[in-house]
């Protein structure tokens, strides 16, 4: 495990210091807000968009927000909340324990309270329509959190980010009780534009050069931790903040998800991929540096609408890692394509036409290869 962790850090440009403590960077971040501030500044691509300005101007003040203990309980339809527990707020010493803490926070940290979630609890059909399946224990991917006058329902990271590659959450279905065409997409930008983005597949997050489709942030372990920290603060309406140990544990957990991905296979499929897709999706991560938005605009109106947002825009568009794309759905900027088969369908038309013109045998070879990623 230690070798895997060291490799993960090295891949991210965060080589562990002498002494072989892979979490040393996290401990410094937890202990000193200045480390988070430096990571924030290093991660920002364009300091003029609203996302970056808010964080640059508010990060120091956010350090003084209260860190209330979060009393939470799992959400089981038909059952009142019980077995309340408090999420840990300290960073364990062992990397595997940090990962476990991050996994727990992924499933249980109350990211944002929302009374609309009660619809999923009250009606199984609405929960199904909203893409909120119960797990083997009968729990919904939501969490109860103690509020000032009683239990409140809240989103967790797991509400939207399934780790099987399928983005199914359908926020509109919570209101209408029926599936919409917006499943797997959310409009998270306060820019007054209707520009929903596909809910991100977090499994390859370590492999991305940038965070956000609009390439708002340079990616690194600490950059991801600060991105999570500030998300949890803004989602709490800037009233309280998470312990940095929670933000780092979440980042560490997400960072390690890539360990479970299989190696990139070789063979004829790799050759077809290299000449068809490898110009952008390159290297072992099958990712690449962002491309200018102007070059992309004719290919994807949705990407243009997201990338040009004053909230997160940088003038560029992230080239996503294709590791895990075989099970990822929906695809492209705003879920315009349901899956790989549709993406390479020569009759599809529309955005991202690459690969559609392949000969039938090359297309079949490429599809088979992509499904193994």
């Amino acid at each position: 495990m230690r070798r895997q962790v060291a490799l993960a850090l090295a891949l991210a440009g965060c080589a562990p210091p002498a002494g072989d403590d892979p979490l040393a960077v996290g401990r410094r971040y937890v202990a000193d807000p200045a480390v988070g501030r430096a990571a924030l500044e290093a991660s920002i691509v364009d300091s003029t968009n609203d996302y970056s300005r808010l964080r640059l101007e508010s990060y120091d003040a956010w350090a003084t927000l209260p860190e209330p203990a979060r009393r939470v309980a799992w959400v089981t339809p038909g059952q009142a909340p019980s077995d309340w527990f408090t999420l840990p707020a300290d960073l364990p010493a062992d990397p595997d324990a940090v990962r476990d803490q991050g996994e727990l926070a992924f499933r249980a940290w109350p990211v944002q309270v929302d009374s609309a979630l009660e619809a999923a609890l009250d009606d199984p059909a609405t929960a199904a329509a909203a893409g909120l399946p119960t797990d083997a224990a009968g729990r919904l991917p939501l969490i109860w959190v103690q509020g000032p006058t009683g239990p409140l329902l809240a989103y967790t990271c797991a509400t939207c980010h399934r780790l099987d590659g399928a983005a199914t959450f359908d926020e509109r279905a919570l209101h209408t009780g029926r599936p919409s065409q917006g499943a797997g997409r959310l409009d998270v930008t306060a820019d007054g534009l209707d520009n929903p983005t596909t809910i991100t597949d977090l499994r390859p997050v370590r492999r991305q050069t940038h965070l956000h489709r609009a390439a708002t942030l340079h990616n690194s372990l600490l950059g991801l931790a600060v991105r999570i920290e500030t998300l949890l603060i803004t989602s709490a309406r800037e009233q309280h903040r998470p312990p940095r140990a929670i933000a780092f544990a979440l980042a560490w957990y997400l960072w390690t998800l890539a360990d479970a991905q299989p190696p990139v296979p070789g063979g004829p499929g790799a050759d077809v991929f290299a000449r068809t897709c490898g110009g952008c999706h390159a290297g072992p991560d099958l990712a690449g540096p962002p491309v200018p938005l102007d070059a992309l605009a004719p290919l994807s109106p949705a990407a243009r609408a997201i990338g040009a947002s004053p909230d997160r825009g940088t003038g560029t568009w992230r080239v996503p890692s294709l590791r895990g794309v075989g099970t990822r759905r929906p695809l492209l900027a705003s879920g315009e394509v349901p899956d790989l088969d549709a993406l390479l369908d020569p009759t599809r038309g529309g955005p991202h036409p690459f690969g559609q013109m392949l000969a039938a045998d090359d297309r079949a070879t490429l599809l088979a290869w992509l499904r193994r990623l």
């Binding site: 599936p179 919409s180 065409q181 930008t189 007054g192």
Partner: protein, 171 residues
């Protein structure tokens, strides 16, 4: 709920508050839509007969479906009957909170509607009393250069009103 209320106020009046319960009218828009047959449970308003004032509404994101007036007055709800407050439609719906009218909030108190966690992508989620702990009064207090599109909202985890920029989870 029916107005659990607050402890009174005495502070300045917010721009939007509910001095008295006013019934909704019995009218709905007859605007017609152009449903996509692949994603529609109705084609015309006449297809919507399972409730009061049925209308076939929708768009390419949500699909097309029937909506109905859930109420015309507070008496039909646990708390407030919010006129034309339905999700992406103009039907009346029951919404929660801790007050119906200003009087439920004590002497000099105010009962105001608040957006929820999806901000402007949704409509009002409930009516809550203004409190002495509030950190904003009107949306204008929250729409600043640092937080464009901010709004003044009920903060359920805090138990008072404050500024928010939330427009659905994930920001």
């Amino acid at each position: 709920m029916g107005g659990a209320g607050g402890a009174g106020g005495g502070g300045p009046a917010p721009d939007v508050h509910r001095a008295e319960a006013t019934p909704c009218d019995d009218e709905r828009s007859l605007q017609s839509y152009d449903p996509d047959p692949q994603n529609a449970e109705c084609q015309t308003h006449d297809d919507c007969q399972a409730g009061r004032n049925g209308r076939c509404v929708g768009n390419g994101h949500d699909g097309w479906y029937c909506t109905y007036d859930e109420c015309l007055a507070d008496a039909e709800c646990d708390n407030v009957c919010a006129c034309e407050n339905g999700f992406r439609s103009d039907h009346n719906v029951c919404i929660g909170g801790n007050c119906r009218v200003d009087a439920d909030c004590g002497p000099g108190g105010f009962c105001s509607p608040s957006l929820g966690d999806c901000g402007h992508y949704d409509k009002f989620r409930g009516y809550w009393c203004r409190t002495t702990e509030d950190t904003c009064l009107n949306d204008a207090d929250c729409d600043t250069a640092e937080s464009p599109n901010g709004y003044c909202a009920w903060l359920p985890e805090e138990g008072h009103w404050g500024c928010s920029t939330a427009e659905c989870v994930g920001k």
